[in-house]
Symmetry: C2
Subunit: 134 residues, 2 copies
DNA sequence: CATAATACTTACCTTTTTGTACGTACTTAC
DNA sequence: GTAAGTACGTACAAAAAGGTAAGTATTATG
């Protein structure tokens, strides 16, 4: 109990305020962890992409969602959007230095999941109920 | 174009199939990146917690959502739930070895965001529109 | 004897997120 | 002349996620 309290205080110093509702980091975390945000960032680690390149690469995105995702990520300063006023339209998306750092963290997470998928799927099977009495 | 194609193929080998809709990793990623999943995992890095410890720590969770989150994470094999049949109820939640690895990746991500929040908020301000003609 | 605490579940409702289908403006290919 | 490709915007609809309030059983506390 006292221990628990002490840990809580220690965390406040170590890790800022993600645990509290009003911290702006929650907002960023949301942009990055919604359905398409993370995928877009990781995809852009491979270099510049045009809108429809991304659309084809991320199987399942609608144009609307892709556009929306790109916009919020651009506003967050993670993505650079360069549009050439030619016809047909030509727009290039790439990561900013900030975005690249973020994307690398995300890649680690995604890679971990993919690499450990066999272990995860295996662990899933076992429906062991654990009820102990003391 | 040919380059683009080649990169796409290389990625398939490097990174599995997150980009494709039907990959089970998308599902796991979802559990981990929804509103409470990630926070719970990171919180549990500090050690065992009881239900209401978590409730108090994650400001803003409802009991329903916390219970639900804990259940899916338990089913994924990331969380261990041990319940003692005493009254009042006593249930302990902790990370499995698998969950701990995952949580550490998540912590890195969350920490990056928190540490770089000043840079992010600063980058956000500048509403620079970039339209170039060639 | 009413209240609080524990760890939930359930029914119901609201908010958020995501998707669908279409339109735009212009050009190239068939 | 019709279709396709480009990078979106917009109205509307569907789906998913999240929240609220109440209930459950039992004990301890005032």
């Amino acid at each position: 109990m006292t221990t628990q309290q002490a840990i809580t205080l220690a965390e406040r110093m170590l890790r800022g305020e993600v645990f509290s509702e009003k911290c702006p980091s929650r907002e960023i975390l949301k942009h990055v962890t919604n359905r398409w945000g993370g995928l877009v960032l990781v995809a852009l680690l491979q270099g510049m992409h045009r809108f429809s390149d991304l659309r084809r690469k991320l199987s399942g995105v609608s144009e609307k969602m892709l556009a929306q995702t790109l916009q919020t990520l651009e506003q967050d300063g993670f993505i650079l959007r360069v549009s050439y006023p030619v016809v047909p339209p030509h727009v290039e998306y790439s990561l900013t230095p900030l975005g690249e750092e973020l994307a690398k963290q995300l890649e680690l997470l995604v890679d971990w999941i993919e690499i450990n998928l066999p272990r995860i799927l295996e662990a899933k099977k076992s429906g062991v109920a654990s009820e102990y009495d003391e």
